[in-house]
């Protein structure tokens, strides 16, 4: 069945509209969510104050880490959409509910993943607030070229993270019910509080193909605080696009083979 991009987009837009209405209806929930994220940020902040008060982290100080926290909140909260969406996909594969989506004229995982969009709203809000705070307190190096590079880095990084999530979720076609995804994902997630430049190159390489914290958090922060020339951002963007193409191809192949194997027996 040919996929109509306009229909795809309508599904996404409609889903986000409904979720926004839900947030407006359950305001207390949203307030608690934001409060929880603020506490999470304070934990991050005290942690780094304690670390930097006792040891040196080359290339990083508190202003830089504030910018990193801004990007961390924005991108990792968006990542939660994938995590919960992919968890749902796994459940649908093993319970046989995937049928309901296979019959629709959109890519089956799109409506499932975007229905968790409300997880991102509070994180994006706090992340933007932290970036504004960093900009007003310390001044940031921002120009249209850097802004565009950062935007593209985040889009490509999100694409890589989603492909990785879809690859692991698709394994449910063969493995059935398992928590492998959660354990791997939350394990890698431990790296999200730290700038990736402090880790050895091999770890950065592994992260580049799974959850690319370098593209999503570290590099945008480095570019905004002016610790690296703009060309570094472009080089990483090029490498990211290549990784995304490879990851997308693998994810597509595994998904298609999985759907062929799928029997909806639950």
């Amino acid at each position: 069945m040919p996929i109509n991009l306009l229909k795809q987009w309508r599904v996404i837009a409609q889903s986000f509209r409904i979720q926004w209405l839900q947030i407006a209806e359950y305001k207390e929930n949203f307030v608690f969510d934001v409060s929880s994220r603020v506490i999470g940020f304070l934990v991050f902040w005290f942690m780094w104050q304690s670390i930097l008060g006792n040891t040196d982290i080359p290339g990083w100080d508190l202003p830089g880490l504030l910018v990193l926290a801004g990007f961390q909140n924005i991108t990792m909260s968006m990542m939660l959409i994938f995590i919960y969406g992919v968890t749902k996909i796994r459940h649908m594969i093993t319970s046989g509910e995937l049928d309901n989506y296979l019959a629709r004229p959109v890519v089956p995982w799109v409506p499932v993943v975007v229905q968790n969009g409300y997880f991102a709203f509070s994180g994006v809000l706090l992340g933007l607030a932290l970036l504004v705070l960093a900009w007003s307190s310390f001044g940031l190096q921002i120009n249209p070229f850097i802004a565009l590079t950062i935007l593209l880095l985040i889009i490509v990084g999100m694409g890589i993270a989603f492909c990785f999530a879809l690859i692991v979720a698709s394994l449910s076609f063969w493995l059935g019910k398992n928590d492998l995804f959660d354990d791997i994902f939350w394990g890698i997630y431990e790296f999200d509080q730290y700038p990736t430049t402090i880790f050895p190159g091999a770890i950065q390489l592994i992260l580049a193909f799974t959850i690319p914290f370098m593209l999503l958090e570290t590099l945008p922060a480095i570019l905004l605080i002016g610790r690296a020339p703009e060309i570094v951002g472009v080089q990483w963007l090029g490498a990211g696009v290549l990784v995304l193409i490879v990851d997308a191809w693998i994810a597509n192949q595994i998904w298609k083979r999985g759907v062929k194997k799928y029997e909806a027996f639950g």
């Binding site: 929930n29 969510d33 929880s36 040891t55 354990d183 791997i184 394990g187 730290y194």
Partner: protein, 267 residues
């Protein structure tokens, strides 16, 4: 007789959760995947500082890193966030009604399940702790301090369960309560000494931490295992945790009853 019959019901829930857990051994094993990852992260961050200064705030590197990792493992053992998710699900989906019609206390039933999960996790967590101590310090904790630490961990586990339960029954009013549970989880990380030792905090934060249960359920047991705390610290920590356990138990009852009055059970 009535009490023993009542206790048997919860023991049965405890036993069933243990059986269910042993059927998913790999899952419990993998839930400790983040321990070696965090060891690697903490090692990367702190080793240059210790190499340059020798000691930081009275800690030598092996003791420092073992202490952090011990708190990480203990936090993993004692935080029953998964049980909180179940409580939220029962409220949201209406399956709570099934429990309400039975002659059991939902609070104690969930606590029995949570304690069973702690025991299951201990099957991985305790060997992991012993391995950490042997690998990083070259010796095991003393038996006496291990027993004192174990007592604090169990009482701490009860307190953290009570906190998680109260946060989860907020679902009666706000629907999803994962944000509140995350909040408790974050506080546990910070004040349990799983990120930096609490003695590294500024004075104001140190004072704040002294009023919370996390330090006594995670950091003090870790210090006991390292041999940096003794019986006096144990008694004080047990006292604070005991007070918290009583306060939370008393508080959960009216909150639960108010929630039930609001609950329509339609899911």
């Amino acid at each position: 007789m009535k009490h023993s019959a009542s206790l048997a019901k919860y023991l049965q829930a405890f036993r069933l959760t243990l059986l269910e857990g042993t059927a998913f051994r790999l899952s419990f094993l993998l839930s400790f995947l983040h321990v070696p990852l965090l060891l690697f992260i903490y090692w990367t961050i702190w080793s240059p500082g210790f190499a340059a200064r020798g000691e930081i705030q009275g800690y030598a590197f092996p003791i420092f890193i073992t202490g952090l990792m011990t708190s990480v493992v203990l936090r993993n053992l004692t935080f029953t966030t998964g049980q909180g998710e179940k409580v939220e699900e029962h409220i949201q989906h209406g399956s709570l009604l099934v429990y309400l019609t039975r002659p059991i206390s939902f609070f104690f039933h969930q606590m029995a399940e949570a304690l069973a999960r702690i025991v299951l996790k201990a099957a991985v967590g305790v060997p992991a702790l012993l391995l950490l101590h042997i690998a990083l310090l070259g010796k095991l904790p003393t038996l006496e301090n291990s027993i004192l630490a174990a007592i604090l961990v169990v009482v701490g586990g009860v307190v953290f369960y009570e906190l998680t339960f109260i946060m989860s029954i907020a679902s009666f009013w706000i629907g999803e309560s994962w944000g509140l549970r995350n909040l408790i989880g974050n506080l546990g990380w910070l004040f349990g000494g799983a990120i930096v030792p609490v003695t590294f905090f500024p004075e104001s934060l140190r004072l704040f931490s002294a009023w919370l249960p996390f330090e006594y359920g995670l950091y003090t047991p870790s210090e006991l295992l390292l041999g940096r705390a003794g019986f006096q610290e144990f008694v004080f920590a047990l006292g604070v945790l005991g007070v918290w356990a009583i306060i939370l138990f008393v508080c959960q009852k009216p909150i639960w009853e108010a929630g039930l009055r609001k609950h329509d059970g339609k899911g």
